[in-house]
Amino acid sequence: MIQETLFLKNTETFAESLARCGVKYHFAYPITPATDVMKRMAVILPRYGGQMMQMESELAVSSALAGAACTGKLVATSSSGPGLTLMHEAIGFMCAAYLPCIVVDSMRVGPGDGDILGAQSDYFVVTRGGAHGDYRTVVLAPSSGQEIADLVPHGIRLAYRYRIPVVFVIDGVSAQTTESTTLPAYNDYSAEFDTSGWAFTGTKDHAKRALITGSYSHQDGYEMNERLRAKYEVIRDKEQMWEQDGVEDAELVVAAFGIHGRMCRDLVSRMRADGKKVGFIRPITLWPFPDRAFEALGSCVQNILVVEMNLGQMVDDVRLAVNGRIPVHFLGKTGGDLPMYTLADMIAEADRLLGE
């Protein structure tokens, strides 16, 4: 497949990017607004010698995903809130088992069965973990079709470098946005990594390997967790990503991820044009959270405004990152006919905080 620019729904951009970057097997169960990922995977994966497999539930989806990941091959799944909830049994398992995979969550309104409209309400479940035990997954939050295409290779590398599930979250509004994206030429990024040292492919070329996540002694359980702790510390240290602009002399910093983060570019350029000292930080990795972006804010910053399509989730991480140094305000909602804020709403709140 050659590099080409297509006008695609962002869910389809996920499918195209994953297949072009080496995903061979995709497992899924229909759910709006994620279904278009599996639909396109069903059509395109056979062209790459792969296959989309529809399972009977997201429990089965994530279990099949884990089984396939044991071979060392690049595998992925896609879902939305209620499906992601069911997948957590296997996500926690894969963290303990050091299995790489890609998970795409097109976030919709929750809790319960919620609403199919877009939201950012899965921030907690992906960054805190919806399964038992001390585990982390890398969480990437692209804000446009182009950023999906650009981040997928990086996500695959992280999944294999750290042997960890990598979760892409996107609000359902961005997921269903149709826009032009330049898709990469085919390249299997997982092929950069040698899996022969750990994959469970049969004893022809290695002594018996057993994937065991249960501890046979209390010491085993302790050591497994210490190994995980060390890995998570490395990831936290090396892999924080964010976009920022105008923060150096800002009086107000707006922090948002996904679509509201994307809108911050317009917010800052418009308010700066009016002479207002506003900047923004858009976290790209939600875990590891880009603490450093907030730690580096100067004393000029008098307020931080966090905007989310939920009732206040990432705002907790912003508060932890600034640790009381700067007042943190929150603007958020979820659901309704327009499940997000307009640029005018965001500017009005920013003006209010600037005392205008």
Binding site: M55, L59, A60, S63, A66, G202, T203, K204, A210, G214
Partner: protein, 253 residues
């Protein structure tokens, strides 16, 4: 110590002390599985996906790659694995609780998909590992840790007949229930387990064997009595039989 592995083949690792209780039926079934793998010459490309429970230890006694799945999900793990590595032989091995309580949905859908994977369900009518609680296959009136007055059909229904549920599924190409109650029964069980693997090796489709076994510890019985129960009450209800055998048809692999 004498090197028993050298004597009995490479798959079975007899040099390891087992974790099974004395008289546990898992010991017999584990050996039969290992012998089938050995005889078919597929050891280097066979992967065990074991459930949670006493049967989860079974892979330790076979020198093959193994995955300890989450509770009940081994059939789904196996489907994913087989899709990604069709050249390998994948079987699941778990107790009745894992296979047909928490895992019934995964099991029936895997069977119905008909992909060439193999399931060994070891039915001892209790949750062994957690201490002898009721399972879906607990017999009517059977006293367990959670049915102090015996299984009550008004509340808990009747023991689940699992292979019977797969009889109408076209993708299931080998389907049997066996037991380890007597030496003769064990020889029959050995034949069925081997055929179940052969079914996969030849790419025919899904294969399933339930093996009815005693759990002396969970049943709080002497080993001898638990085998007598296996030969009588258990197999009266769970009738050993080969429901379907399409291993005789021409190769499609």
């Amino acid at each position: 110590m004498e090197n028993l592995s050298a004597k009995y083949g490479k798959t079975l690792n007899l040099d390891k002390l087992t974790s099974y209780c004395p008289g546990c039926g898992h010991g017999v079934v584990t050996r039969l599985v290992a012998e089938a793998i050995e005889e078919l010459g597929i050891m280097e490309r066979t992967i065990a996906i074991v459930g949670i429970g006493c049967g989860g230890f079974s892979h330790h006694y076979m020198d093959i790659d193994a995955i300890e799945a989450t509770h009940g999900r081994a059939p789904s793990f196996a489907l994913g694995y087989k899709l990604a590595m069709p050249e390998n032989i994948v079987f699941t091995y778990a107790g009745d609780g894992d296979t047909c309580a928490i895992g019934l949905g995964d099991l029936l859908h895997a069977a119905n998909k008909g992909m060439p994977i193999t399931t060994i369900m070891v039915n001892n009518t209790v949750f062994g590992m957690t201490g002898g609680q009721m399972s879906p296959t607990t017999l009517v009136g059977q006293v367990t840790a959670t049915t102090a007055k015996g299984r009550d059909t008004a509340l808990q229904g009747y023991p689940l007949l699992v292979p019977e549920m797969m009889r109408s599924m076209e993708g299931v190409k080998f389907l049997a229930r066996e037991s380890v109650a007597t030496p003769k029964a064990i020889r029959k069980a050995k034949r069925s387990i081997r055929k179940a693997f052969e079914c996969q090796v030849r790419g025919l489709g899904y294969s399933f064997v339930e093996v009815v076994v005693p759990c002396p510890t969970g049943l709080k019985m002497r080993v001898r009595d638990s085998y007598a129960r296996c030969a009588n009450e258990m197999t009266d209800y769970f009738k050993p039989q080969v429901f379907r055998d399409e291993t005789e048809q021409v190769d499609v692999a």
